[in-house]
Symmetry: C2
Subunit: 303 residues, 2 copies
Amino acid sequence: MSLLVVGSMAFDSIKSPFGEVEKVVGGSATYFSIAASYFAPVRLVSVVGRDFPRRTIDKLSSRGIDLRGLKIADGETFHWKGYYEYDLNTAHTVRTDLNVFRDFVPDLPAEWRDTPYVFLGNIDPRLQLDILAQVRNPRIVALDTMNFWIEKSPQLLREVVRNVDVLVINEAEVRQLTGEFNLVRASRMLMDMGPKRVVIKRGEYGVLHLSDGEIFAAPAYPLETIFDPTGAGDSFAGGFMGYLASRGTRELAERDYRLATMYGSAIASFTVEAFSTERLEALSRDDIAMRVSSFRSLTEFRV
Amino acid sequence: MSLLVVGSMAFDSIKSPFGEVEKVVGGSATYFSIAASYFAPVRLVSVVGRDFPRRTIDKLSSRGIDLRGLKIADGETFHWKGYYEYDLNTAHTVRTDLNVFRDFVPDLPAEWRDTPYVFLGNIDPRLQLDILAQVRNPRIVALDTMNFWIEKSPQLLREVVRNVDVLVINEAEVRQLTGEFNLVRASRMLMDMGPKRVVIKRGEYGVLHLSDGEIFAAPAYPLETIFDPTGAGDSFAGGFMGYLASRGTRELAERDYRLATMYGSAIASFTVEAFSTERLEALSRDDIAMRVSSFRSLTEFRV
């Protein structure tokens, strides 16, 4: 089934202990859509400036990602500049230039309104609400956000949270959003607001996936070389939602959500092996299946 | 088979966001031996002052813990004072009074020299070497240490590391000991020094267990109330080594080490539910088995 994503397409300038890159292609919708395209047909809603490389757009298109919702606006593409120290779990923002995102109003193609799976990537909650108002009876809506919006637009963000099925956010954001340090209690607070599931991204520590009565813990893949964690969370979400969308029309069960978590984790583990989308876009179905199977060896024990 | 532990017995004064206690019973050998006593006969080597409660000694003894290696010395018991903030993964030391530990020379009862399983708890590497010099052909020797000794006695500590089979240390200590941030690479550096396995304790994120060619990742149990993480690492080690010692004389395989990791994790998850050894000492075999089985539900996924 089809999967709609709204989020950023961006240039990232990143410094990490392993190197430095200037204005490489990034953004939540970019990572998400490439990751999800291994599993399901993706519809992308975003905006870029005239400076965004045509080559990237063609590449996304050639993956079957439907770009009718991508606006090419006068002005410059969104730009994030940041760095990581040895603790790759923490991104330090140096500068955020919203550029063409400042005046972006997403306009959903009429034939996309019935898309069954929707991912609201990490952008202004105002835009996330815009999309929510335009879709009709989606099966699953998932949401990501970040500290910037939790601080800047807490009311709007709460409005979005109330109207989604799954939160896919990181550990620090769960705590900031709820004011509760304990993740089990914090997740219950979030589920009381509306969502049925909270998927907590913990970087190199993996994922904690909570729903009513069930908790699933997935480790991150212990890699020997992590070049750049940028995009790991969005790739995770892309693999996660992509897998769910690939399950067709039948009712989704805990088992599906767990496997979706593992597919997301597998995809994310490739993303961090290189800067930008370099590794992510070069995967085979076999690479992904083998990584999921490595995750099983990584976690399996028998009494 | 029997299991020997050398480590501290102590008074702990602890402040956490959930309460404050003054001079409660603690220490690495205390937590370790209670945890291990659920699985195997334990022999304890340590020293306390005359102020240490007779009641606790009787309690350990009644659990079948052999205390012939416990010295009661003139002077005061070792005392640790510290606090935790909301991040329970980090213990902040306010004061360490070595007291009777300052002049302690461990003297192994002659009939203990052939103990097959040995745990060198977190104490002065000089004492750990003393014990190593007194045991004969142990099957498995495991070692714990902490930042204090890594900084104070790096040479002696390296000497100990070279002579043990399993390191059971926490994430920050692995990094400090090797100067390498990546845990996979750091573990390989440690295994190059001698140990065949590195078991990395990551607090609320669980355990990463590395050996040549195998990695096993176990989550921590996601608890809703964590009162006091003190002793979690030592309880983990006690359950881990206790389980291995309970396997009898047959060759230990990866499967045994993985299950030992889960038993250790189960025991540790109880310890943190209360201050001191309160919860740890009140477990049934059923409690432990059920927690291990909860860990399976927590991590299981099917492709």
